[in-house]
């Protein structure tokens, strides 16, 4: 099977500090569900930023959809980014736009007409359970509602990869499970899902999910094939 993401000896350094990420190598395959775990400060967000092209690595090779994303001219990055949905840890909703307009943003960027985007956005609002909050601005939404808007915005354009940074960090356990079910549903439609979390309980909730563990900038599972709870075979792979 062709990989959808490939990292080879990737390193990331901010300024002259020591490397935040070192020798990161892993491969992700289409249609799989991956968890990225690790303690706070382990480098999960930095790794995800490389994955959704918010940053270029200091060294190493990153291939997305078979394209070398490290040397790709910046003019060609938007086309690649449109194939990736991102749920940011801090949501990053546009404050002056309503929930509806925030969710519609990726479609508008992609040039979808106003008439064509009405129905999918309305359906997405219902899907994440905030259909009655369509015209509310982010400042008037609760943390959980903002999170759901962020998730809806990430998946509205049916990305090939969904990257979520601590997507359940601001919601109660019931809502966390509901959001996870949303990701699973999307995964079943063929989207590769990568969820960064420090909540190990989530891992057991998704059948056949695989796990990558980050520890102080190093990845513990170069194959990205660990499961939680680990099987006897998996345990041997962890360095």
């Amino acid at each position: 099977m062709d990989s959808i993401v490939q990292f080879e000896n990737v390193g990331l350094r901010y300024g002259t500090d020591t490397e935040t990420l070192s020798d990161i190598s892993f491969t992700l395959f289409p249609g799989r569900f991956y968890f990225l775990t690790g303690a706070s400060g382990a480098g999960k967000t930095s790794l995800l930023r490389l994955l959704f092209l918010a940053q270029r690595p200091s060294r190493g090779l990153i291939k997305l959809f078979g394209t070398d994303a490290v040397t790709l001219p910046r003019e060609e990055l938007p086309a690649l980014r449109r194939r990736i949905g991102v749920v940011f840890q801090d949501f990053r909703l546009v404050p002056h736009l309503s929930a509806f307009d925030n969710i519609a943003l990726p479609l508008r960027v992609a040039g979808v007409s106003e008439r064509e985007l009405q129905q999918p956005v309305a359906e997405m609002l219902d899907w994440v359970g905030i259909g009655d909050r369509a015209s509310a601005r982010p400042a008037t939404l609760s943390g959980g509602e903002q999170q759901r808007v962020a998730i809806a915005r990430a998946v509205i354009s049916r990305p090939e990869i969904l990257v979520a940074d601590e997507p359940t960090g601001n919601v109660d356990p019931d809502m966390a499970l509901r959001l996870l079910r949303l990701f699973e549903a999307l995964n079943k439609l063929g989207t590769t899902v990568v969820v960064a979390t420090h909540d190990l309980h989530l891992l057991s909730k998704v059948k056949d999910a695989q796990m990558m563990h980050l520890d102080k900038g190093h990845i513990s599972d170069p194959t990205g094939a660990l499961r939680y709870p680990p099987r006897p075979d998996d345990a041997r792979r962890v360095r």
């Binding site: 910046r74 990055l77 938007p78 736009l97 943003l105 960027v109 106003e114």
Partner: protein, 298 residues
């Protein structure tokens, strides 16, 4: 002209609808007002120079500078006769002694000319063509034998210092227009940078959602175009009111020189194009500024 493209209707809400910076439309209005006045002054001077030049273009004067009155009269008569026969000269009009006395009255008094003061005989010429050096030389050659005391000068040559002054004033006006255009660009540049800083978070999000630099730039261009359009409209209305007021006053004075400076229809067309040029300049400045800033981001 791709830089003039504006965002689609649905994209317009991505940047807040408020003005980019509060005073920018008013600053642009002041710039436009001053630019239009400076341009109007330059165009008025040019119109005046063109009209005077057109009046003098085909005219020349022959002076017979001879102290002996008999000889002077003889040479003047011969010159008139010879000049009347050539095709280059359309009209020959000797200036009467009375007219010369009237012209000199401010300097020598109104008692008439004393025979002891040698006054040249004057002949006005209307030429069939411009009073170029070549044409004047042809006349000089013709008169060399029959009126050796004759001097031939184009009317325009007397006004050369005035034309030089008018030319300098035109360059001054053009310089002011360019200076104001530069100041307008600088204002837009600062406003665009300020807007970029204000909306950096939104820009980052749009980039990560796959928006291109062109899409983001068009959003800012639209806001700049609206501000520049608003400022331009106010600037031109104010400037036209001032120009109309001045034109009325010039007409009331009734001076030929002042009236020669009245703007022609194509001058008004140029003035009307200035706000449009201002909007295009503002959009271009905004585009270059924002594109450069975006290229520094990933």
């Amino acid at each position: 002209m791709a830089f003039l493209t504006l965002p689609s209707v649905q994209d317009r809400g991505l940047i807040p609808e408020g003005r980019l910076t509060g005073p920018m439309p008013w600053v642009i209005a002041i710039m436009m007002f001053l630019t239009i006045l400076a341009a109007a002054a330059g165009l008025s001077v040019r119109a005046s120079a063109d009209r005077v030049n057109a009046d003098l273009a085909g005219r020349a004067t022959v002076q017979v500078v001879e102290a002996n009155p008999d000889l002077r009269a003889e040479q003047a008569g011969a010159a008139v006769e010879a000049l009347s026969k050539i095709q280059l000269v359309e009209k020959v009009e000797p200036v009467s002694e009375a007219d010369v006395e009237e012209m000199l009255a401010p300097w020598i008094g109104s008692d008439g000319l004393d025979d002891t003061i040698p006054i040249p005989a004057l002949i006005d010429l209307d030429l069939n063509g411009p009073a170029t050096e070549a044409n004047l030389d042809e006349i000089r050659d013709l008169l060399a034998d029959i009126a050796p005391a004759a001097r031939v000068d184009a009317h325009g040559s007397w006004l050369k210092p005035v034309f030089n002054l008018l030319k300098s004033l035109q360059y001054l006006a053009l310089g002011l227009v360019l200076l104001l255009a530069f100041a307008t660009s600088a204002t837009v540049l600062l406003a665009a940078r300020s807007a970029l800083d204000t909306h950096r978070e939104t820009i980052d999000i749009m980039h990560l959602l796959g928006a291109t630099d062109g899409q983001i730039t068009r959003l800012f261009q639209r806001r700049i175009a609206l501000d520049a359009g608003f400022g331009g409209a106010i600037g031109i209305v104010a400037a036209l009111m001032v120009l109309f007021f001045i034109a009325v006053q010039m007409g009331e004075i009734g001076s030929g020189l002042l009236e020669s400076g009245l703007l022609r229809w194509h001058d008004w067309a140029i003035l009307a194009l200035i706000p449009i040029g201002g909007i295009v300049l503002a959009m271009l400045t905004a585009r270059v500024t924002i594109m450069r800033a975006l290229r520094k981001m990933l």
